[in-house]
């Protein structure tokens, strides 16, 4: 035995181990491929579920009913008062007219639940715009309640036991009848983009959150870009290379890695408790987010300034420019595309951030679309968080839709950053 081993040459030894080594090489390679696939498969699963859940929210079920703006119902005392007129009764009468055979109180109540409570507000707004409608009949498509909407989108199963459904057998039969007579159809869901938040899923929209986010981003960019750019210019071009500059450098790198929720605590303690700024306001949210994005912008701007070749500076200095003139007349114009790209990336991070906003009270239930920087408001990601918490099935669909809108915005921002970098980038 020992003799055979001794007689093996190095070459034989290598050959003997080669099969095993090749196998391990192949395994390692496959393992690497699998690891790479994990992230990409997750991404695929994520986007498929998101689109599968959310795409239906962009359509909404409407029912066409004939409404009678009768003076008896709306102005019993002869005087029309839009705030107190019984528009709910108008809607109830309209749906009952479709089903004259339904007479019992209980059934009638169930019947009226087919139509959204928002229909009454819609009628009121119509009448407010055009008083001449009083006394006339109109055919109008109004949104159904979210349960009917879910039924039409097959999100409520008909086969499940009636007690476990949010719609009764009778209601389903009525809906089927309306479908058969062509009175129920689905249209693009404009309410999603024109309404503020609501407790009723079929009336809830992202407009308020979107406007709040836009206000916040305006504050964020207005504060963080000038300050970030100025800080980057100072650190890259003027700061003496001493311990103080080192400290600032470490500090900025560290700030970029501080958990975002800590910025929320800072905003709560400083901007709200100490400075007395209003809670839930886009102004405070924007201030918090600008502190959060400042390090991102500083780091990107420094990289952009660093990439401007020293020969440009030397040439300007040789022609007698002061250091400030070199920077402001030559370096910054060349570094600006890079700095702006950094700003856009910072903004896209700010747009997706929600944890610090929870701290400053931007999670309140707010129906109105904010009209100024100090109005109470939410933001798009916070709206996602709020809707994700709601138990109704219809809100899950809308959450996915809101996420799709959020991701589209992020995609557009990142895309514009990439395009800008590609188009204006200079190779020195």
């Amino acid at each position: 035995m020992t003799d055979t081993i001794k007689s093996l040459s190095t070459h034989d030894k290598v050959l003997a181990g080669l099969g095993k080594r090749r196998r391990s090489e192949r395994n390692f390679r496959v393992f690497g491929l699998m690891a790479t696939a994990v992230g990409i498969i997750f991404l695929a699963v994520f986007f498929t579920t998101l689109v599968a859940n959310g795409s239906s929210a962009f359509m909404q079920t409407f029912v066409v009913l004939e409404f009678e703006f009768s003076e008896d119902a709306l102005a019993p005392s002869g005087q029309l008062d839009l705030e107190y007129a019984d528009f709910d009764g108008l809607v109830r009468n309209a749906i009952r007219r479709e089903f004259p055979e339904v007479t019992s109180r209980r059934d009638r109540r169930e019947l009226s639940k087919i139509v959204s409570v928002g229909a009454a507000y819609h009628l009121r707004d119509l009448l407010r715009k055009d008083h001449s409608l009083l006394g006339s009949h109109i055919q109008l498509a109004v949104p159904t309640s979210s349960n009917v909407d879910m039924l039409m989108k097959d999100n409520i199963s008909r086969t499940v036991d009636a007690a476990q459904r949010t719609l009764s057998d009778k209601q389903i039969a009525w809906v089927d009848e309306l479908v058969a007579s062509g009175k129920i159809h689905s249209k693009f869901n404009t309410a999603l983009f024109t309404n503020g938040d609501s407790r009723e899923p079929e009336l809830a929209g992202i407009r308020g959150a979107l406007v709040g986010s836009i206000y916040m981003l305006i504050v964020t960019i207005a504060i963080s870009f000038p300050i970030g750019a100025a800080a980057a210019i100072y650190l890259e071009e003027f700061a003496p290379k001493n311990r103080w500059a080192d400290l600032i450098e470490v500090n900025i790198n560290n700030l970029a890695a501080v958990p975002s929720i800590v910025f929320g605590l800072l905003a709560l303690a400083v901007f709200i408790n100490w400075m007395g700024l209003p809670r839930s306001a886009p102004l405070v949210g924007g201030l918090a987010l600008s502190l959060l994005t400042l390090p991102v912008i500083i780091i990107a701007s420094r990289a952009a300034i660093k990439s401007v070749p020293p020969s440009i500076r030397d040439a300007a200095l040789a022609l007698g420019a002061s250091r400030m003139q070199v920077v402001f007349h030559h370096v910054i114009p060349l570094a600006l595309p890079g700095m702006l790209t950094g700003a856009i990336i910072g903004m896209s991070r700010a747009l997706g951030e929600s944890a610090p906003l929870l701290m400053i009270g931007m999670v309140a239930f707010i129906v109105d679309v904010p009209g100024s920087f100090t109005d109470p408001s939410t933001a798009l990601p916070v709206q996602v968080y709020l809707w994700a918490d709601s138990p109704e099935r219809a809100f899950a669909e809308r959450t996915s839709a809101a996420i799709i809108v959020l991701l589209v915005f992020l995609l557009l921002m990142n895309l514009s950053a990439v395009i800008m970098r590609k188009r204006i980038e200079r190779k020195w």
Partner: protein, 462 residues
């Protein structure tokens, strides 16, 4: 007078003084042809006057706007009858809120009596007066400082140096904002945390095993004495972080190795941007996915295998968090691997080792410090991550290492303690700041360490 009008007026003055300063410098030397007699370019004289017009006035406006509400409130309260001034602090605040709402035309609680009406009118009058005074002051300060600086202009006046000094000061100020932010974080968190530790001992907080942060409204209430033992939160955070790391570190590292050593450039060109997309998805979206897709899936799977899984299990939150961190780990590992000099790689390959042997025995040991630094940063990211755990992990402070049970984390508790209207002097809200302090200190340590390791290592091979 509206604030915006005052600001516009100052801006208009500023523009005027720019042209005035520039014109004066040219006139002093006798026209554009004699420009060489000036020390600086004419524009700098304009900038100099304009900056001096702007700065003092805007400082005044800022200070005024900050102090105004406080002074007006004090004046209104002084004007109230004696009986009202003897009220407790809470009642005074309520009264004040009502007066302000009355003045701005909002709804108020209770009925407005004559005294409140008078106070509200006084409030409105004072606001209008204050803005008028500010307008007069600010505009005259702007004009005065512009005239003074305008008169200082002579052909020898070193305008460019003065302007550059001001710009330089602005730049220094901007770069110190980063430092101020850190100081602000430390101070704001520290002060509230100290107030918390006055009520609850630090030992109980750091080593207590029970977390039920409620403060009693009545003293005889059940569970009136809230307990603030944060150990279950720390273990919960660590459990979720550990799960996330078990996912993210091997996957991220192998992804980096595969993409930098094995894959063709075509695959790399597709896979890298896709992984960057993963890094760009907002955390609230990951949270939604964890809570509504992953957690139910794990629950169904667990039940089919016959063991109980909480609907808000640590596993779901940890898994999704791990996926979120993959791009961070892979990009930092990628940097570390690429920093290994190719001579080392070529040497190993030249001696006949396979690529995987080269990676395992040469590249990874050489890149290890950089990779470890990256992992530290990833751990810090996982500990501080908020939205995923808020949405997918529970609120129950269980002291367990079982990933199928619900646990809670430091960040979840900070959010739950601070959401909703809270008074700022209860131990409950202050506890959030104590937790925030812990979070900040731990992540700071991890970040500083991680950044130092990564940086030092990068320099080693340069």
């Amino acid at each position: 007078m509206e604030l915006i009008t005052i600001i516009l007026a100052i801006v208009a003055l500023m523009l005027a003084s720019f042209f005035a300063g520039r014109a004066r410098s040219l006139r002093l030397v006798g026209g554009p042809r004699k420009i060489l007699r000036l020390h600086s370019l004419p524009g700098y004289y304009g900038y100099f006057t304009a900056l001096w017009c702007l700065l003092p006035a805007s400082l005044l406006v800022m200070v005024w706007v900050y102090l105004e509400p406080r002074v007006i409130v004090a004046l209104v309260m002084d004007g109230l009858p004696q009986a009202h001034q003897a009220l407790s602090e809470g009642e005074v605040n309520l009264l004040l809120g009502n007066i302000i709402n009355l003045a701005t035309g909002d709804a108020i609680s209770g009925n407005a009596d004559a005294i409140m009406q008078a106070a509200a009118e006084r409030f409105n009058q004072l606001t209008i007066d204050s803005r008028k005074i500010l307008a007069v002051f600010a505009i005259s300060v702007a004009a005065l400082s512009a005239i003074v600086s305008w008169r200082r202009i002579t052909p020898d006046f070193r305008a460019r140096n003065r302007v550059e000094q001001i710009i330089s000061a602005v730049l220094i100020l901007a770069s110190s904002i980063a430092i101020l932010t850190t100081i602000g974080i430390v101070l704001s968190v520290l002060f509230e945390a100290i107030r918390f530790f006055r009520e609850v001992s630090a030992i109980d907080f750091l080593f207590g095993l029970e977390w039920s942060p409620q403060t009693a409204i009545r003293s005889d209430q059940v569970g009136s004495s809230g307990s603030f033992g944060a150990v279950p939160l720390f273990t919960g955070t660590l459990l979720i972080t550990a799960i996330a790391m078990i996912v993210a570190v091997p996957v991220g590292l192998m992804t980096a190795i595969y993409l930098s050593e094995y894959s063709s450039s075509r695959i790399r060109a597709v896979a890298k941007p896709l992984l960057e997309v993963l890094a760009g998805i907002p955390t609230v979206v990951y949270g939604f996915f964890a809570a509504l897709t992953v957690a139910p899936a794990i629950r169904t799977m667990g039940e089919s295998l016959g063991f109980a899984v909480a609907s808000e299990s640590a596993l779901a939150a940890g898994l999704v968090m791990g996926i979120m961190i993959i791009p961070l780990v892979s990009s930092l590992s990628d940097d570390a691997i690429n920093a290994v000099p190719s001579a080392m790689r070529d040497g190993a390959l030249g001696l006949g080792s396979t690529l995987s042997e080269t990676i395992k025995m040469v590249i990874l040991p050489a890149a290890l410090p950089g990779i470890v630094g990256g992992i530290l940063l990833a751990v810090s990211r996982a500990i501080g991550e908020t939205m995923i755990v808020v949405m997918a992990a529970g609120l129950a402070a269980n002291l367990t290492a079982n990933p199928f049970e619900a646990v809670t984390t430091v960040t979840v508790q900070i959010v739950t303690l601070l959401i909703g209207d809270q008074e700022f002097d209860s131990a409950k809200t202050l506890a959030a700041f104590a937790l925030g302090l812990m979070l900040f200190v731990v992540t700071l340590a991890l970040n500083v360490l991680g950044i130092q390791v990564v940086r030092k290592y990068r320099e080693q091979y340069e």
